[in-house]
């Protein structure tokens, strides 16, 4: 259930990782009909975004 109303409201901070992860996934898919180079770059973006995402979570 949601938090009670007298405590300080905690809202998640903005993050660019969802954008990077989404871009990585799409680029990886784009590589299939075009050039697998894009798939490799996309996979690297995915890995980078996941690491960043988890790091952010640890700092909360």
């Amino acid at each position: 259930m949601s938090e009670s109303h007298d405590e300080v409201v905690h809202l998640p901070s903005p993050s660019a990782w969802p954008f990077v992860l989404g871009g990585g996934v799409t680029l990886a898919a784009f590589g299939v009909p075009t050039n697998l180079f894009f798939t490799v770059v996309g996979a690297l973006l995915v890995a980078w975004a996941l690491v960043g995402w988890i790091r952010d979570m640890l700092h909360e």
Partner: protein
């Protein structure tokens, strides 16, 4: 680019889908221009194919479904009194996948190879021999990307509604729109993975030489239709249930009466969701499924009319005796009720098998689903847009312009689609780029084209109204319609934290109870005991089960149908059974690891967790070695039907083991840094553990069906 606020993301959804709506609308206009007169040459046949394919795909995957999810994103957390969605960043991720997937879909269009095999891209037309260029690939890959986002939204929405309701809001104090969003989330998880599986099979056929839909190898292309419609029919309700939710909000507020039969409305929504998973083959009556299947699917399809009819009667009973305010919002809702019922009735015609045989693939079908999705869902969306516009933007829409837009929309819409019933019964086939000058066909088609332009003008009026309001300086009040649900209890637009304070919640109309000093006492709400991420992983596993279910269904269907080549006897069964024991044992070791962690024994946790990783790695290594052995013997995914399904099923399981190993290793590294001491973040460990148990459980099924069953029979 970095926002994670559900309201910002909701607005992004709405803006993005409006852009795609304009694109899909232009495609519709091109279709109508081509069909305006007989034997027209405005579009050549190939372009026409591409245009109607993109129109359907765009409107379903990039407009109606995400528009409704966008509303749910914005409104549901407000309605249930929450600060945000359960997983705000995952929510942002879903949105970006929609945008990027949409762009990927249109990439094929832009580089000259537009998808042109219809919105369902039936095999074998979509297979390599019949579609050489990459057009189908952009269709499949673009939709795979958006589908991942949709599944993530389904997980997120479900968890949000199950876990984040405000104190006092039990299941039956929940507004109907939120209820329907919950049911829709369930349907998304149950249905969309089936499409994902079909598209992956299609891509494997196209790129790896697999034989999923290749009759020459003994395969049955009808399997594609089954997998597609197992997704496709629930998809109709993914686009209709939230629309029912919007109407169930609007009708009571503008009749000044409580919704008639709230529990029945909710129950019928749930019934529709379950029934919709049992009707898919009514899209396939003409492929010849046999009398028994036809009768069964005809019956289940007709059964859906019962809960749907209950809803319509509930709305009518709500209107009955109410003080009806005929605002633009209400007009759209009333038009929805009439038009949707109309579309529902022609749906019953299609459930009647012999009628379906006659009207299949004619304009009767086109008329039917446009009444459901256009006259139904789209009108509900327009009702919702006019209803929530003041809340989202803090500005009121002009009623006169609103009503002008409404009447043009109603007239234009019905002028386009009503005559299609007649044309369909006269025999005009859908998806054909032109038609002969038969008596009556030309004038009726011409009238439809005029209707399409009236709809275009209506859209222009609606957009103009919105732009005008956005520029106006007059602020909308917090609750302009005297609504009763919680989104009207906060400012317009709401502050980032949504609410300063929530009113007490004792019914599904908290704002009505407020001045009426309801003597009701808040019921004791039983909280769902699972922690939030655990509900999330549970929902995710449910969607995974659908995905594996599709792969397993394909394997079983094709188990004995290979006409040549390798079979289960080429597999090394004893060896696989031995290495499976490592995987099964790892379920035990991960349990021991968790038990140590719960007692805060870090060392024991790390040791058992490491053993789990090693066991998983041993299993995966053996699988890779077996693949290597088979490949060296010339047994590849392209060998025959058996190897196609074998490699796909075991390969996807292996991929899940691989992902699981990455997750396990990440947890282990964090554990070594002491991130899980003293009960901190234990839920992350538990979530990974549950996922690992699921991967094990899938292997129990795969081992039994692929290796053991094959030997026994």
């Amino acid at each position: 680019m970095t926002t994670v606020d559900h309201k910002d993301i909701g607005v992004l959804y709405l803006l993005t889908t409006i852009v795609f709506f304009v694109i899909g609308g232009v495609e519709a206009l091109l279709i109508r221009l081509q069909l305006a007169v007989p034997r027209n040459t405005f579009l050549d046949p190939a372009t026409y194919n591409a245009v109607f394919t993109m129109h359907g795909t765009t409107m379903i995957f990039l407009v109606v479904m995400p528009l409704l999810l966008g509303f749910a994103n914005y409104i549901v957390p407000l309605q249930i009194g929450a600060r945000d969605m359960a997983f705000p960043r995952l929510n942002a991720f879903s949105y970006w996948l929609l945008l990027f997937g949409g762009i990927l879909l249109y990439w094929g269009f832009l580089n000259g190879t537009p998808p042109d095999t219809g919105w369902f891209s039936y095999a074998p037309l979509s297979e390599r021999p019949f579609t050489l260029e990459s057009s189908v690939d952009y269709w499949a890959l673009g939709l795979l990307v958006t589908s991942f986002g949709t599944i993530a939204t389904g997980v997120n929405m479900l968890v949000t509604i199950v876990k984040l309701r405000a104190p006092g809001m039990g299941w039956f104090q929940m507004p109907v729109f939120s209820w329907m969003s919950l049911v829709t989330a369930f349907l998304i998880l149950a249905a969309i993975p089936s499409l994902t599986a079909a598209q992956i099979m299609l891509l494997f056929d196209r790129y790896l030489g697999a034989h999923f839909f290749d009759p020459a190898a003994g395969a049955d292309p009808i399997l594609y239709q089954h997998l597609f419609w197992y997704f496709g029919h629930p998809e109709v309700y993914i686009m209709a249930l939230p629309a029912f939710g919007i109407i169930s909000e609007v009708v009571p507020v503008f009749s000044r009466k409580p919704l008639f039969g709230y529990p029945v409305i909710v129950a019928s929504g749930i019934a529709i969701a379950f029934l919709s998973l049992t009707v898919w083959a009514h899209h396939m009556f003409t492929v010849g499924e046999g009398q028994l299947a036809d009768a069964a699917f005809g019956l289940t399809s007709m059964t859906i009319a019962v809960p749907t009819g209950i809803k319509v009667f509930s709305w009518l009973a709500t209107l009955w005796g109410g003080r009806i305010r005929l605002t633009t919002v209400m007009l759209y809702a009333l038009a929805f009720i009439v038009q949707f019922t109309f579309g529902g009735l022609s749906g019953i015609h299609f459930a009647t098998v012999p009628v379906d045989w006659h009207t299949h693939d004619s304009y009767y079908v086109v008329a039917h689903f446009h009444y459901v999705l256009g006259g139904g869902s789209l009108f509900a969306i327009l009702a919702g847009m006019h209803y929530w516009f003041p809340k989202i933007t803090g500005r009121m829409l002009d009623e006169r312009l609103g009503k002008l837009g409404f009447w043009m929309m109603v007239i234009g819409f019905n002028l386009v689609f009503f005559p299609m019933h007649i044309l369909g019964l006269m025999g005009q086939p859908r998806r054909t780029y032109t038609y002969p000058d038969l008596p009556g066909w030309g004038p009726i088609n011409f009238a439809e084209t005029i209707g399409a332009f009236i709809v275009t003008l209506a859209v222009a009026v609606i957009v103009l109204n919105m732009l005008r309001s956005l520029r106006s300086t007059v602020r909308a009040p917090d609750n302009p319609w005297n609504g009763w649900t919680l989104e009207w209890a906060t400012s317009s637009p709401p502050p980032p934290e949504n609410f300063v304070a929530l009113p007490p919640i004792t019914s599904n109309r908290p704002l009505y109870d407020l001045p009426h000093a309801a003597a009701r006492v808040a019921g004791q709400i039983r909280e769902v005991r699972w922690r939030t991420p655990m509900v999330g992983i549970g929902a995710f596993i449910f969607s995974e089960a659908t995905f594996f279910g599709a792969l397993i269904a394909a394997f079983l269907e094709y188990r004995t149908r290979s006409v040549y080549g390798p079979s289960v006897h080429d597999l090394d069964v004893p060896r696989t059974v031995v290495f499976s024991l490592f995987l099964f044992a790892s379920s035990g070791t991960i349990y021991l690891a968790e038990r140590s962690l719960h007692r805060d024994r870090q060392r024991g946790f790390l040791v058992w967790w490491a053993v789990t990783i090693v066991f998983g790695a041993i299993f995966l290594t053996n699988q890779l070695l077996e693949y290597a052995r088979l490949y060296s013997e010339g047994v590849t995914i392209a060998s025959n039907l058996f190897t196609t399904t074998f490699y796909t099923l075991t390969g996807f399981h292996g991929l899940h083991v691989f992902v699981g190993l990455i997750a396990l290793s990440t947890i282990w590294l964090l554990g070594r840094r002491g991130e899980f001491r003293l009960g901190r973040r234990q839920v992350a460990v538990d979530a990974v553990s549950v996922y690992w148990h699921f991967v094990d459980a899938v292997w129990v099924v795969v081992l039994s069906l692929v290796y053991l069953l094959g030997l026994v029979l």
